[in-house]
């Protein structure tokens, strides 16, 4: 078992499993910071996985495909914002509508585009390439872990830093946090909360679209029906567990990725019934959540002098 865990492949698996969840987690962070729960992440992931395949095949370029996919992801965020902010729809109901549309809509679009119902194998899509880093790839072990990862995996790590700087070091980031903290207070100093929440949801949609693109153009090299498989919901939990901060989200996503990779190895060694092993990633996350909030509670109690 240790041989399997201490292999570079194991760490590669962690990073691969983390990437889509990390993008979606960041997407959830920015929406939550503005005061809206973006539960449509699951649907945006699924739509983006399909659009990534379709547009990278039309443009013969993964980069153009990615850009178009991200724009569409932003548009879905915009639609959600329109329903929630202009039409005053319940944000959860609007998100459920988007998620259900994604389940059926992706199959419909796939059928219209390729004539297939389950797999996009007949579409010649272009996946995002892996990045070989010169010099580093010569280092034993570490080189094998770091080099050869998908470019989007790197981008997800860069996105963590960018989102951290954006939320905490820019005026717009400050406005987003202010609106999320207290809408009326923000309005009183002249911030349009509606404009800010629109912006936050569009950014959220764009970030989730990166994750969706990675699912079918990096993780896998094709779209398969329902391939988002609840990652959008896991990301919601991961973001909330990470206190809706990009760094916290990264740590929780990595924890989930680690637990997933560990579960894979545990299945290989068949140490216990697979139903229990399949719970490992979720159980780990749940226990982590419990520990975190217990620590938070203790900290609060200490500060209030109880």
């Amino acid at each position: 078992m240790w041989k399997a865990i201490l292999s570079p492949d194991f760490f590669g698996t962690i990073l691969r499993a983390t990437t889509p969840i990390l993008f979606a987690t960041l997407a959830s962070c920015v929406a939550s910071k503005s005061g809206i729960t973006n539960m449509a992440l699951e649907g945006i992931l699924l739509f983006s996985a399909l659009f990534g395949v379709i547009f990278s095949s039309i443009t013969h370029s993964w980069l153009l495909g990615l850009i178009i996919t991200v724009v569409i992801g932003g548009l879905i965020g915009l639609i959600l914002a329109f329903f929630v902010l202009n039409l005053k729809t319940d944000e959860i109901l609007a998100a459920i509508a988007i998620n259900l549309t994604a389940t059926g809509g992706t199959v419909l679009l796939l059928l219209a585009f390729s004539g297939d119902r389950g797999v996009s194998s007949s579409i010649r899509s272009v996946s995002a390439p892996s990045l070989t880093i010169p010099l580093i790839d010569k280092i034993p072990f570490i080189g094998q872990v770091l080099s050869g990862q998908n470019i989007l995996t790197w981008l997800s790590l860069v996105a963590v830093i960018v989102m951290h700087l954006f939320l905490y070091k820019t005026p717009l980031g400050l406005s987003i946090r202010a609106v999320g903290e207290n809408k009326n207070a923000a309005e009183s100093v002249g911030i349009s909360s509606r404009r800010i929440q629109y912006i936050a949801l569009v950014i959220s949609g764009c970030l989730a679209a990166f994750g969706g693109f990675f699912l079918s153009g990096g993780y896998m090299n094709m779209f398969t029906k329902d391939m988002s498989s609840g990652r959008g919901f896991i990301a919601l939990a991961a973001a909330s567990m990470g206190g809706n901060t990009p760094i916290g989200g990264l740590l929780v996503s990595l924890l989930f990725g680690l637990a997933s990779a560990l579960a894979n190895v545990m299945q290989l060694m068949s140490v216990m019934p697979y139903e229990i092993i399949l719970m490992v990633p979720y159980l780990t996350t749940l226990i982590g959540l419990g520990v975190y909030y217990y620590a938070q509670k203790k900290k609060k109690e200490r500060l209030s002098g109880k």
Binding site: P20, S121, E275
Partner: protein, 373 residues
Amino acid sequence: MKKKVLAIALSAAMALSLGVVSLPVMAEDGPYKAALLLNGTLGDKSFFDSANAGLTALKEELGEDVFDFKVEQMGATSADEAKWEPTLYDYCDDGSYDVIIVGTWQMLDALTKASQDYPDQKFIYFDEAFDYSAGGENVYNVMYKQNEVSYLVGAAAAMMTTCADLEKVNPDDHVIGFLGGMENSVIKDFLTGYISGAQAVDPEIQIALAYVGNFYDSAAGKDLALTQYNNGADVGYNVAGSAGLGQIEAAGDADKYAFGVDSDQAALLPDYAANIPTSALKNVGNSLIRAIKLDMEGGLGYGALEYLGLAEEGVELVEDAHYEEMLPQEIRDKVEELKQQIISGEVVVPTFLGENAISQEDLDAMLDATKVQ
């Protein structure tokens, strides 16, 4: 008074019309007519296409005057589910069909009711066991011996993983992989056959077993399969619906082999054809042709369940030019030999389904004996 007359007239009209409608329309001396009701759509490249292709071939063979059929695509989404049962009843009401064909576990409830309400209507039901405890004398039930075809896959996989002639194989270890969707009795039947076949040709064989937990998370399936390939497995077998496609991609990335299932996946995924030696199929089409021909002669066993295996061509391994190109002669010869032994009854493949099913303890013992070291 006027109203009363009108009411009586209307009631009479209603009674009359009811009587007319409820009169059963008897099948005329036309062709044998079948209705194929799909709780999904054509284009699945699997069961439903196979069923349609079988009936189409039969119609071409016998001619329209002798056999005719109609396909009704009811759709597979949760929104479509509501119309499966009414559609089945519509066809029963029609009464002009000699047989109505439905399949999969999702139609079991609707069929159970319809078969009781229309005892004179004949049904063919495929790929799930019908519960005969409450009647069902008018239902012919066909299931497939996936264990037999998996036996051949297991044997081929076990021979491949130690074969020095194959470029994508490290012949030193004896590990082969199996990726299941969820642990249910049909998947376990696949597994039982697979392990038995592998053990038959190589007693030292080890099985890396993993379940995705669903039938759609292809990315998770890919990671699970990559873990198997990176830890010694050279050949895999996916029985996990679209999650199984992850294993085929993993085989492509790790430059290993994966056997296909349910449809000819080498043809379906040309990019990965070099990693897919062949696929194991349930031949729904063949089983329907067989059943209808028997029914025309009056010899179809209604009221009972029948398992079709390699002998009845209910299951098969795709043996085309691609298969011949992928696998060396001696492996194919051995597979053919095993197949003939199964057909002749010389070899009886253990199964997890039906009366002769092995117990969970037996399967656990088999898994224990083949555990990855």
